[in-house]
């Protein structure tokens, strides 16, 4: 499968890379990380230019995230209406918004590269919960620079072993996402357990 992707990069170059990076920020399942690795390898071989490869991947990813943020922002009134209609949810929604306002910048930053598969969801949530545009954009652009630069650099450095690096990166990325989900659920479980114990003690 990765061979077909590498061939696409060799044939269509930076335009393909830009389209893939843009769409993968909007939940379209495209393995843009593999395409960036291939882009980096072709830079090492002299078939592509580093500046254009990096710029196309980075700018397209930032544009994709902006689109996701705008979609989320468009959906914000829906969230308000939900909060109005169900007062018991209103508290939860207000708490979620406060959390995003307090920690959202960092969440956006790490969701662009460390746990990139979660990125599209974070963009929607950031837009819907009213994280400031400038803050979103600055953290997002910084994170996407790490994402694009990291994969392209890895492809450049290990150009002779592109297939090895592609396998390795896919596994590492899967591991990190599973770890992030386990961490989040574990944190929730711990909070629930504490509450249950407090209730058990009080009765």
């Amino acid at each position: 499968m990765s061979d077909a992707l590498f061939e696409l990069v060799a044939t269509y170059g930076v335009w393909l890379l830009a389209a893939a990076c843009f769409l993968s920020c909007l939940l379209v399942p495209i393995p843009s990380s593999l395409l960036m690795l291939a882009g980096g390898a072709f830079v090492a071989a002299g078939d592509l230019e580093f500046v254009t490869v990096f710029a196309s991947a980075w700018l397209a990813a930032v544009a994709g995230d902006q689109t996701g943020y705008a979609i989320g922002r468009g959906g914000a009134p829906l969230l308000d209406r939900l909060a109005e209609r169900r007062p018991n949810r209103a508290d939860l929604i207000a708490r979620a918004r406060a959390l995003v306002a307090r920690r959202g910048g960092l969440g956006v930053f790490f969701s662009t590269w460390l746990v990139a598969p979660l990125g599209p969801y974070v963009n929607f949530v950031a837009g819907a919960s009213g994280l400031g545009w400038l803050r979103f954009t600055l953290w997002d652009a910084a994170g996407e620079a790490i994402w694009a630069g990291g994969y392209i650099g890895l492809g450049y450095g290990f150009a002779d072993h592109l297939v090895l690096v592609a396998d390795f990166a896919a596994n590492a990325s899967g591991f990190l996402v599973a770890a992030a989900v386990a961490l989040g659920l574990g944190w929730l479980l711990r909070a629930r357990l504490r509450k249950a114990r407090a209730r058990a003690l009080s009765t």
């Binding site: 061979d3 077909a4 590498f6 061939e7 060799a10 044939t11 170059g13 390898a41 072709f42 090492a44 071989a45 002299g46 078939d47 592509l48 150009a159 002779d160 072993h161 592109l162 297939v163 090895l164 396998d167 390795f168 596994n171 590492a172 899967g174 591991f175 599973a178 770890a179 989900v181 386990a182 659920l185 574990g186 929730l188 479980l189 629930r192 357990l193 249950a196 114990r197």
Partner: protein, 123 residues
């Protein structure tokens, strides 16, 4: 610990199941990563065979020879645009195996000329 698990299972079945699933997926990817590592640590698995998606310059980079060597073997003008071996094979109406054989022969001749005889790309 056992008590905590019973308590959680009673009230938060779905959450606990999701947590265990996430841990299992984590273990799956960790084992796969280690398996790849062991596989690739064996130098005989490191040679990158010539594949249709590769460009002449990529092959030259991968096998550590100057790009002109591969370009000349395939009758390409120096400094010509990006093209894959699959495209060259289609253009010339020959099989990919023949293209690969031509490229490998040229690389070996180049290495012989520089007393750099070695089997395939460096590890």
């Amino acid at each position: 610990m056992t008590h905590a698990l019973t308590l959680l299972w009673r009230d938060n079945k779905l959450l606990l199941a999701g947590f265990v699933l996430a841990l299992a997926v984590m273990a799956f990817f960790a084992i796969r990563t280690v398996a790849f590592w062991i596989y690739w640590a064996d130098p005989t698995h490191r040679n990158q065979a010539i594949e249709p998606w590769m460009t002449p310059r990529y092959v030259a980079h991968s096998w550590h020879v100057p790009p002109e060597v591969v370009a000349e073997a395939l009758d390409l003008r120096p400094g010509s645009g990006r093209i894959t071996l699959a495209e060259i094979a289609a253009r010339d109406g020959v099989s990919l195996e023949e293209i690969a054989a031509r490229v490998v022969a040229a690389i070996e001749a180049e290495r012989a000329a520089h007393r750099l005889l070695g089997p395939g790309p460096r590890g």
